[in-house]
Symmetry: C2
Subunit: 343 residues, 2 copies
């Protein structure tokens, strides 16, 4: 098996810099559209064979060093008892947002096998199908990010209702976060048991919080999740998006690897994180539109700036956008491998 | 006149920390709704008497230390020849986005008196009406932020088309920025001549750029504007929103004051900026929902952390949100004054 990704997570020497791409299985790939056209997004998440099929596509097409489970962070909320729907153009909709203790009390901490068994089935299938290819990453949403969907009922511009609860009813907010955290821990434990070889916690909206709020309301729950998963003995990655102002805090998450969005200066992050944390990132997804010569220069610069880190997993600074030509994604993978070989 | 704001911009000693609030004239005030209900948003911008009336409302109601012209950063684009409309719930719409040199060539560098005379009329009126009350701030959008509206045709989630032009046709993008910059310089010069006593450049979307892109495509144009306005001899403020990862760069803008959004740690910014730059900010707008005792603690903390700066103008870290109770805005102003008095 190509273990470059796992080695880099642990800070071991590798013969090239490993790369995978956030949302690497998805809308920019014609092969994905072919599968997706037969069913809704949520049906695809719940169909282990098809979810495994689209998970494998970028491994074969792009040659990435890791596969990441095809799923969505919001399936956890459905498992907890919320109505989840993905509407074309509008994105996720949770019809009955949670804004009171009574509403929160109606949600359960789900048994992951019972409520999210399709995810574990996908993981098992993938481990068989991946065999000796590349490691499989499992994932979840961080409690703060999940809380925004839970409270807003979908996407949000300024997270008004989430912060309103945080500020005006911190007890309720902490109860909600505790429930999300408990659900997340058992979900990730089940993923590890099913065969996930690394786990990433996505905190897509962490960067909407002032540092003091992040420290009080978000970070402790991430720390709790990371600590609970340590005994699984697999690399744990925490990706807080838009985190340039939170580096002092994210470095205390306990994760083996910290993801960096494209707005973060890598040497600043490395200096801040010290010698015990590997990094992942951080090419601006839209820079995949650059002509190849300029794109190669950016890749070279990120590789160069990442050399001081304990370990560096190349990635984009956020999910790949649907408008990306697949051949450009392939070019990025090849270029990262070529430029980092033997360095 | 209460010159506390102007003194703080210049780093002179003040007997209290001055405060104004981004979007202080606006939707959270019933008094504003009363005026706004009689006309569209754009009609209000173009009606000097009514625009002056709503500009003055927060000065009287809240007791802020500065007035800021009621207008919108996008009126510049209309003056350049674009169709501008503000749709309820959807926000600004520019029906014909600019994506080619031919389209760009159709836009003019407007004579501000001819095309934006209503703004200068509002400023003149306000200077008379404000008399010995507080100074008047004029403003504009920064070229990068204006370019996103120009190219996307409205608001955007990831600025795909803007970055696409930047990356695939940098020559065209630089031409577009040069035209925006020339338009902005003459617009601000006209505002200063009409009587604006300080000028703020709003770069609302600066934080969507990786540091190297900000340095190459956005910052030089801000520097050009600031340099061109220096001879006006009034304080110049540059507010780059979501700038925690850009502090090394924004400090070279040439501005007297740098605005900080709520995600920036103030002492980090002060350390980075050094002794020659005053700061403005940075309370999270949604924290105005906090109960008074907790809100006061946050205000005290920001005042405390701002003390090391050359000067500190208290403000929110972004515009006040429509859901804010006006009495909370008033409480913030009173608390900033009370806690900073004599310190």
């Amino acid at each position: 098996m190509n273990t470059t990704f796992l080695k880099a997570c642990r800070g071991e020497k590798t013969d090239h810099t490993p790369i995978w791409i956030m949302r690497q299985a998805g809308r920019y790939l014609p092969d994905y559209h072919k599968v997706r056209s037969q069913m809704t997004f949520l049906e695809l998440c719940k169909n282990p064979e098809k979810a495994a099929e689209v998970t494998l596509q970028p491994v074969d097409i792009l040659g990435v060093d890791a596969a990441i489970l095809f799923s969505d962070i919001l399936v956890t909320l459905e498992a907890m008892g919320m109505d989840l729907d993905f509407k074309e153009k509008q994105g996720p909709v949770l019809a009955h947002p949670i804004r009171s203790q009574a509403e929160l009390d109606q949600l359960i901490i789900p048994d992951p096998i019972e409520k999210l068994g399709y995810v574990m089935d996908t993981i098992s299938l993938l481990r068989t199908e991946l065999a000796d290819k590349v490691p499989l990453i499992g994932f979840c949403g961080a409690p703060f990010t999940l809380s925004t969907y839970m409270i807003e009922g979908g996407s949000s511009k300024n997270f008004f209702n989430t912060k309103k609860m945080m500020y005006t009813d911190p007890g309720l907010y902490h109860n909600l976060m505790a429930k999300l955290t408990a659900s997340t821990i058992s979900y990730l434990q089940a993923q590890a048991e099913a065969g996930a070889q690394a786990l990433q916690v996505f905190d897509s909206w962490a960067g909407s919080l002032a540092p003091n709020d992040f420290a009080e309301f978000a970070l402790p729950y991430v720390q709790e999740i990371i600590a609970a998963l340590k005994p699984a003995g697999i690399p744990l990655i925490y990706f807080a998006n838009n985190c340039a102002g939170l580096l002092d805090l994210t470095k205390t998450s306990g994760a083996d690897v910290l993801g960096l969005d494209w707005r973060v200066d890598i040497p600043t992050a490395i200096e801040n994180f010290g010698p015990d944390i590997a990094i992942q990132g951080n090419l601006d997804p839209i820079s995949l539109l650059l002509p190849e010569d300029k794109l190669e220069k950016r890749i070279a610069s990120i590789l160069e700036r990442g050399r001081g880190a304990k370990g560096h997993i190349f990635n984009l600074g956020h999910g790949i956008v649907p408008e990306t030509p697949p051949e450009k994604a392939k070019f990025v993978v090849e270029t990262v491998h070529r430029l980092s070989k033997g360095k």
